[in-house]
Amino acid sequence: MNLLEVKNLRKVYTTRFGGTQVEALRSVSFGLEKGEYTAVMGESGAGKTTLLNILAALDRPTSGEVILGGRSLSGLKDQELAAFRRSNLGFVFQDFNLLPTFSLRDNILLPLVLAGESYREMEKRLQPLARRLGISGLLAKFPYEVSGGEQQRAAIARALITDPQLILADEPTGALDSKTSDSLLRLFGEINEAGQTILMVTHSVKAASHAKRVLFIKDGEIFHQLYRGELSVTEMYERIADTLTLLATGGDVRA
């Protein structure tokens, strides 16, 4: 059984004034197996963030269904959703979204604190994780005191500390320079090797080429998908770039 099952998602935004409607997602369906590392690609405005927000249960779809670990999200109440999000999902955002009022340590511990863990347990999980992400020495610092890459590492640690079933990442390298991006993508690969399921939204070909599978989204629908199989990162990069060119020129590459 798939870890994540997405069926016919549709999302229509109604603007507050005037009532004009924007169809951000038309009909999106796909499945995600446990341990998969999947990238979702699409142009700006294609509906990637919308999709991720719905998967994260931060927003509700107009119609369609999301099933995670065998449970349908549509039936959950606000309170249950929060608890569900806390224990099953981890987030990494483009602009890190660390709380400026917390030190890195406290930012990373936030989900555990909200879950009511004991402080001893928190420390036990924090130390090895921080070492793995290379931020052990920065824990006492505040977000404004460290670089973007380090902030993003802390954000990843925050996502991983609850040992979630699925990591959702929205353009995690979008605000980083290319060197930092590379090391971050390597980190994602390592995390995935260790068995973590990851869904990453991006419009960067380089970022997507690290994934094992790439979904292309256009006009609110899944347009195409690529499997990495035995391809190297460079080969994958070329395949993705080709697909994007085809998409842009309107060629029919529907799988």
């Binding site: 606000d78 309170q79 608890a83 987030f91 009022t101 989900p111 009511g116």
Partner: protein, 659 residues
């Protein structure tokens, strides 16, 4: 550049920021209006004809100064807040190539429109409501209401001048604020302040010490006259302490709390402590302002209300009888002349004296140290004690006033003090030791203690012989004769007009005018009314003004915080907090920050209570229960009002924070 470019830009930017400028406009309009009104009332000609108008005039002119000062400080403060909030927008203008002098022009036009609006609207409403204020004051003073409607051109001119000057300075200050900042800084101005605040232990400690010292002074002060001076010292200490504790003390405390890991790493404290830590850094001063303004409102209103409500009480304390005659001698012939003169006047009016009280006194200022009462000459350096006024009176006079006569031995005395029960069993004076047979809780028919300003001791001795002996001894040791007096007080069972006629008659017909003073409670009532009524009016007026200030500060505080919290709470939601949990966390935090100043004001009031009680003694108000009740009611009303403001402004906050 198109015609009217800057004025148009300025107008549209005021419109766009109505959420910010609306309350500011309201507040400045009200300031102008209130300033005109108090000026109008203070200069009103109807008042000068009133009895006690001198005191009243002084009070009201004092009010004018306070309102003016408050307006200046307050508008300055809110404006600097506005400029800070708008730095980002101004930075954008700057970044898009507008020069700073052009920005200054926009600011200039904005200030001009704001000034124009608030002065015009303020004067309009001020003129409209000035009559109402006058009616209120005359009502309080129980004076006949004057007819007609008046606009005082002079007051209008002063108001216009003051506020034009004020806005000019405000404009200069805003320009300076913008000028001194770089474009990048302007853009970033709002993002600043996210730095973790440092705990400044020394300042926090200093805050504790100053606040403690202020409280200590307020609590231990014994003498009303000393209280007057200590009051100012205590107020200043408490204000300093409040600012220090709100700004540094709170941060130090929160940091201390954060050190305890098992306590800190739980959902509620985790969010609350970290949130408050940053909140206090930015808002410590604002909260301290609210706290001090609230305290001012509470003190002003509770004291003036209790004085006004307790007016009759005060009069009864000060004038034990409707008519009191004082003769500066107790020689039998002079006393007899006064008695005869009084009876003559009364019988002419067909009246009889009721509740007669008569005392003969030998009085002097003395210095009390334990059970010893020392004359000026006897005081040795290094001796600790209090200056008191000391009165001896014969048993005969006392017994006339009580149901069960007392008898005394040669060396026995009864002692009464207006500062609580006398503590010792003996009393030493001029080398004589008296045994205190009874410590009196009151001196029947008292009211001669004049004001309650000084500690007074009344010593009832066996007879006139003891009194005369003391007098002789005093003349010898002091080299001057002690003051003697005869006091006769009585009530009249008649109309106020008749009583006034008796009073005038007594003043004219009694012999030895140089030695005689006649006082009438009713006459005094008018003067007391002018003073306490004036204070009451001023209390209400200033209380309203301070309240307005409090509300505005609260409003702006909520708005700023709303913008800052929005991001925080959206992140929390993403990390796994339910919307309802987020809302309850917001509520908890806002609630604690919001009601902290009120709670602190409450504590200030509690500690100020003993001192203010003493101060009120200077105004002859000894009814502590009345003052306690007034304070409690004022606090309750204020708390309700505060809660309403909370609810109203919190809506604005949620609209922003939860967007």
């Amino acid at each position: 550049m198109p015609k009217f470019f800057y004025p148009k830009l300025a107008l549209s930017s005021i419109k766009r920021h109505l959420q910010l400028y609306g309350p500011y406009l309201c507040a400045s309009t009200t300031m102008v209006s209130m300033f005109y009104m108090i000026l109008f009332v203070a200069e009103n000609s109807g008042l000068s004809k009133m009895r006690g108008s001198e005191v009243l005039g002084q009070l009201l002119r004092f009010g004018v100064v306070v309102v003016g000062l408050f307006a200046v400080i307050f508008l300055f403060y809110t404006n600097s807040f506005l400029v800070r909030r708008r730095k980002r927008e101004l930075g954008l203008y700057n970044a898009f190539g507008m020069e700073k002098r052009h920005i200054a022009r926009i600011l200039g036009w904005e200030t001009f429109f704001i000034a124009l609006f608030s002065i015009a609207a303020g004067l309009g409403s001020g003129i409209l409501f000035s009559k109402l204020m006058l009616l209120l004051l005359f009502r309080i003073l129980e004076a006949p209401i004057p007819f007609g409607f008046e606009v005082r051109l002079e007051a209008v001119l002063i108001t216009v001048k003051l506020f034009s000057a004020l806005y000019l300075v405000i404009f200069a200050f805003s320009v300076w604020q913008v000028r001194s900042a770089q474009a990048v800084e302007l853009l970033k101005a709002e993002a600043l302040g996210e730095r973790e605040p440092k705990a400044r232990w020394l300042l926090a400690l200093l805050g504790c010490v100053t606040l403690g010292a202020g409280y200590y002074i307020a609590v231990v002060v014994a003498d009303p006259l000393v209280a007057l001076f200590s009051f100012f010292v205590a107020v200043i200490l408490v204000i300093i302490g409040t600012y220090l504790l709100f700004t540094t003390g709170s941060i130090a405390l929160l940091k201390l709390l954060r050190r305890s890991k098992p306590l800190y790493y739980r959902p509620k404290p985790f969010i609350a402590i970290s949130g408050m830590l940053h909140r206090m850094k930015q808002n410590g001063v604002g909260l301290a302002n609210i706290c001090i303004l609230s305290t001012m409102v509470l003190v002003t209103i509770s004291t003036t209300v209790s004085l006004y409500v307790g007016l009759e009480d005060v009069l009864r304390t000060r004038y034990s009888r409707e008519i009191v005659i004082r003769l500066d001698s107790y020689e039998p012939e002079a006393v007899a002349a006064v008695q005869a003169g009084t009876e003559a006047v009364l019988s002419r009016h067909g009246l009889e004296a009721a509740e007669k009280a008569e005392y003969r006194f030998l009085s002097l200022t003395a210095f009390r140290s334990g059970e010893r009462l020392l004359t000026e000459k006897e005081v040795e350096p290094g001796l600790t004690g209090v200056r008191t006024s000391l009165h001896f009176t014969p048993l005969e006079d006392y017994n006339r006033m009580v149901q069960e006569p007392v008898s005394l031995q040669e060396n026995e005395v009864l002692v009464y003090s207006n500062r609580g029960i006398y503590e010792h069993s003996t009393l030493e004076f001029l080398g004589r030791s008296f045994a205190v047979k009874e410590k009196l809780a009151s001196l029947p028919g008292d009211g001669f203690s004049r004001t309650q300003t000084f500690a007074s001791y009344y010593v009832v001795v066996r007879d006139m012989q003891v009194l005369e002996e003391l007098r002789r001894n005093l003349t010898e040791t002091e080299g001057r004769s002690a003051q003697t007096s005869y006091i006769r007080g009585f009530d009249l069972d008649t109309s106020a007009e008749e009583a006034a006629a008796v009073y005038r008659d007594l003043q004219e017909s009694l012999p030895r005018k140089d030695l005689i003073w006649v006082e009438s409670r009713d006459e005094a009532r008018q003067e007391f009314l002018a003073m306490y009524g004036g204070l009451f009016f001023l209390g209400l007026f200033l209380g309203t003004l301070f309240l307005l200030g409090t509300v505005l500060i609260i409003y702006y505080k909520q708005i700023t915080e709303g913008y800052e919290d929005r991001r925080r709470f959206s992140i929390m939601q993403q990390v796994g907090m339910a919307g309802s949990e987020v809302r309850s966390a917001i509520r908890g935090q806002v609630l604690s920050v919001f009601f902290l100043p009120l709670a602190a004001a409450g504590v200030h009031i509690i500690f100020a209570f003993p001192m203010i009680t003493k101060l009120l003694i200077l105004f002859n108000l000894t009814n502590t229960a009345l003052f306690a009740a007034c304070t409690a009611v004022t606090f309750a009303v204020f708390a309700v009002f505060y809660a309403c403001v909370y609810l109203a402004t919190t809506k604005a906050y949620y609209r922003i924070a939860a967007a």
